[in-house]
């Protein structure tokens, strides 16, 4: 397959972008939010129709028209999205074969054994008769890939496949991707994780603001240059943040939050945790280790079953988020789509929501007041939106996250919990958010910062709580906070508990 070319004169979404994918290569598509990655993919898969340009596929002499996802599938182009698009209440085998035959009668016995051989061939550990929703997200994703492969796809597009997987699962996925590469499948890999790009890909295409920056062989493009190309500027920011982060590791000041043997219905084991004024703390651990569950218990999002919570030395019982909010706690949840945004509501309504709820049912803000708040934070955080009236789900991921951040900053909390605030957003916004965290902390706000990227935590946090299997297994600060040490603690090498 060679020579996909399309251009979009007049529209900012994609302007004159070329993209070439060869047989048996893994090609990273990189760019910040709003750079046009998703649009490009959606054009390729027929979700959007292109305005101009042409798409060519190997062995077809004239440009092809891809008008719908079904068309794309016919040409052998399959997509696996970040969100699983299979049917969770059907079995693995049913998901593999559903919708691919018009036969009224299906021999499931035969299909199940066929499914088993497909899964086995790709090294996927799932039983064909297992219900899909019982499989882990990683396996679900692999089933989606297996389905695509079995439909004889030559081009596989993976849109942020790794953002909800933990490291082990990522490794498995990569093994699968390499296997497919060996079979001659061309893979387009969209991700924000630089490590993964360099571990896996052969080529990189970089987009910025809907325009093509360039196509590079992986060996010709060092990391720093890639980041610079994506952002369109040189990058000295990261090192700078690191230094600031160290300086805030001071001696304990006023205690804001203190938990004593706190546990909740989510199953976390009782934990002790203290937050000081102006301190940035972090919870480190693998996905599912209980990082989010700890902070959810503090915020009242999960029902507390045992233990005590003290805010500024005062015993409090927080049974619902509104109580936590009134005590000056804010919580930016891990899953932006599911728990964060209110999709169809405007940016303005999304920004004021938390403060409005705290203010009460009978005291709505006037439209002018709400607009003033929205304008203030749109410019403060640099949120890119057509207007405060645009529905939030028309914004790119990073900008949605900024809106949610604005929502909590507007409530002026004493203690702000940021659960994976940088997941799935571009490097530029990541850096902005990290800087903002440190700035807020220096102004006296206490912050808990949770991230799957250890480097990011090391840069921003002055103290790390390490979790494994719903237990707090260690606490690291100062010079102890090295990548090796953290890994070692997470993996359970240290006997701190």
């Amino acid at each position: 397959m060679k020579g996909i070319y399309k251009s979009f004169p007049g529209v900012r979404a994609l302007q004159n972008v070329d993209f070439t994918l060869c047989e048996g290569e893994i090609h990273a598509l990189m760019g910040e939010n709003g750079a046009g990655k998703s649009t490009l993919i959606k054009v390729l898969t027929g979700v959007y129709t292109k305005d101009a340009g042409e798409i060519r596929i190997k062995e077809i002499n004239k440009p092809v028209q891809i008008k719908s996802p079904q068309d794309a599938q016919k040409f052998g182009i399959s997509t696996v999205y970040q969100e699983i698009t299979l049917c969770p209440n059907l079995t693995v085998a049913e998901n593999l074969f559903i919708g691919r035959t018009n036969d009224l009668f299906v021999d499931w016995k035969k299909n199940n054994s066929r499914a088993e051989s497909i899964l086995g061939g790709l090294g996927i550990t799932a039983k064909p008769t297992q219900q899909l929703s019982n499989c882990s997200i990683a396996v679900q994703q692999m089933v989606a890939i297996a389905r695509a492969i079995d439909m004889d796809c030559k081009v596989l597009i993976l849109d942020e496949p790794t953002s909800s997987l933990d490291e082990q699962e990522v490794t498995k996925l990569f093994t699968l991707m390499r296997e497919l590469k060996g079979r001659g499948v061309g893979i387009v890999f969209v991700t924000h994780f630089l490590d993964q790009v360099y571990a896996l890909c052969d080529k990189i295409t970089v987009l910025r603001n809907g325009e093509l920056v360039g196509e590079y062989q992986i060996k010709d493009l060092p990391r720093v240059e890639l980041v610079a190309k994506m952002m369109g500027k040189e990058l000295g920011d990261l090192a700078e943040i690191h230094n600031e982060g160290q300086s805030s590791a001071d001696d304990p000041k006023e205690v804001i939050i203190e938990t004593e043997e706190l546990s909740s219905t989510s199953g976390i084991k009782p934990f002790n945790f203290t937050v000081h004024k102006g301190e940035v703390t972090g919870f480190a651990g693998l996905l599912g280790s209980g990082r989010s569950e700890c902070v959810r218990a503090i915020f009242g999002a999960d029902k507390v079953t045992k233990g005590k919570l003290r805010i500024k030395g005062e015993d409090v019982s927080i049974t619902s988020p509104i109580k936590a909010m009134k005590k000056g706690i804010g919580y930016l949840p891990e899953d932006r789509k599911r728990d964060g945004i209110i999709g169809d509501l405007s940016v303005r309504e999304n920004i004021i929501l938390a403060l409005q709820v705290m203010r009460g049912f009978f005291r709505p803000f006037t439209k002018a007041e709400a607009q003033a708040f929205a304008d203030e934070y749109i410019s403060l955080l640099g949120i890119k939106t057509a207007s405060a009236d645009s529905p939030i789900n028309t914004l790119s991921g990073g900008n949605q996250q900024k809106v949610i951040l604005a929502r909590w900053l507007l409530t002026h909390p004493d203690y702000l919990i940021l659960d994976e605030p940088t997941r799935g957003i571009d490097i530029g916004t990541k850096v902005e958010i990290q800087k903002l965290v440190l700035k807020l902390a220096s102004e006296g706000m206490s912050i808990t910062f949770i991230s799957s990227e250890i480097e990011e935590m090391m840069r921003t946090c002055s103290r790390l709580i390490v979790m494994r299997d719903l237990h707090v297994v260690g606490e690291l600060k100062g010079d102890d906070m090295t990548q090796d040490k953290i890994m070692y603690t997470i993996a359970g090498g240290s006997n701190s508990k």
């Binding site: 529209v11 959007y48 988020p321 599911r338 945004i341 209110i342 999709g343 169809d344 929501l353």
Partner: protein, 351 residues
């Protein structure tokens, strides 16, 4: 272009279209004149007045249904049956256990309050099933839909009482005042609704809960409570509508009162451009939708369409109306808009 893209464009255009047809059939359609009612009082009469007056129940119910739809992503199909209960309670309060009492057994205001209370109790019942027990609204309200009319009959002690004429003021005219009372009640309810939308966060909360209840609860809202409240609000609307309805003829037959009104109400909400899947709503749209349906009904009556055939005509017209609002038709339409936008040069990403 901006007018056409407005969400209210299609509902208003359709209502205007219906009115135009009516004027074509009957040039005097819009005429309002002073006449005398059966009691000999001077009152306003005319087709338009009739539509405005007869739409009262539909408008009030559509308001409540809009809130329920927004927050619970489903509809209450028990409103007609609940109106039978409300009617039954009101008649029992006014007539006691007599069939044709010479005077009212209780003040009308007491009957109204108890009627509203009965409606709200039914709403609360539905609300608990939906919010606490997480039952789909249509299934939850199927219970009262099935049982409501019998309960209404039981409330009246199996009698068919008729109250004295003074109870009829609310459903017809107050002596000496020319505007039908139901129109005044509609205005009052609509005014209170818009005041509530402006002065409270009812709109924001119901929409937020309907769009994303997980996120809403992390923002300090209580989705269960809000869903419950919208059902109680609808119950209150049913109470008022039931009061107006039973006042029109001062008697109630629980088995035949407002047949099939639940579907008209749901249609009104849909005609107003609201998604029956919940979330964002447009109250003005629902109200216009209610008047549209009433206009359609009375148009078919004046055309002497056989009563049994009315539903068929309604259905045909509604299919057309729903079809032109369908996404597939809209996308053809918006494509034209997109192209023209591009040529004017202010085109942004259009999806």
């Amino acid at each position: 272009m901006k007018i056409i893209r407005n969400k209210l464009f299609i509902p208003i255009a359709f209502l205007a279209f219906l009115l135009l047809i009516n004027m074509f059939i009957n040039p005097a359609f819009l005429r309002i004149s002073l006449g005398r009612d059966s009691m000999g009082n001077r009152v306003l009469i005319g087709n338009l007045i009739n539509i405005l007056s007869n739409a009262t129940e539909l408008v009030i119910l559509a308001i409540g249904m809009t809130f329920v739809t927004a927050s619970s992503k489903g509809q209450d199909i028990s409103v007609g049956a609940t109106m039978a209960i409300v009617g039954g309670v009101i008649m029992r309060v006014l007539c006691g256990s007599q069939t044709q009492p010479a005077e009212l057994q209780a003040p009308i205001i007491v009957a109204l309050l108890l009627g509203c209370l009965a409606g709200m109790a039914c709403g609360a019942f539905n609300g608990i099933l939906v919010s606490k027990f997480n039952i789909q609204p249509m299934v939850a309200t199927l219970i009262l839909f099935t049982a409501g009319r019998s309960i209404g009959s039981m409330a009246m002690g199996g009698l068919k009482p008729k109250a004295v004429a003074s109870f009829g003021y609310s459903g017809n005219f107050i002596p000496g005042f020319p505007i039908p009372t139901p129109i005044l009640i509609t205005i009052a309810v609509v005014a209170v609704t818009f005041l509530a939308l402006k002065k409270t966060n009812l709109g924001l909360y119901t929409q937020a809960v309907g769009i994303n209840d997980k996120s809403s609860s992390l923002n300090g809202l209580n989705p269960e409570l809000i869903k419950f409240l919208t059902f109680v609000i609808l119950g209150l609307c049913v109470g008022i509508a039931g009061f107006v309805q039973s006042s029109r003829v001062q008697t109630v037959n629980p088995y035949t009162i407002v047949p099939g009104i639940e579907m008209d109400v749901i249609l009104a909400v849909a005609l107003g451009g609201n998604s029956l899947g919940g979330g964002k709503f447009n109250m003005t749209g629902s109200i216009i939708g209610a008047y549209t349906i009433q206009t359609l009904t009375s148009m078919l009556t004046t055309l002497n369409v056989n009563t049994n055939a009315v539903p068929v005509f309604k259905a045909v017209i509604i299919i057309v109306l729903v079809a032109i609002q369908a996404p597939i038709v809209k996308s053809i339409f918006s494509k034209k808009v997109t192209v023209s936008k591009l040529t004017t040069g202010d085109g942004k990403e259009c999806t």
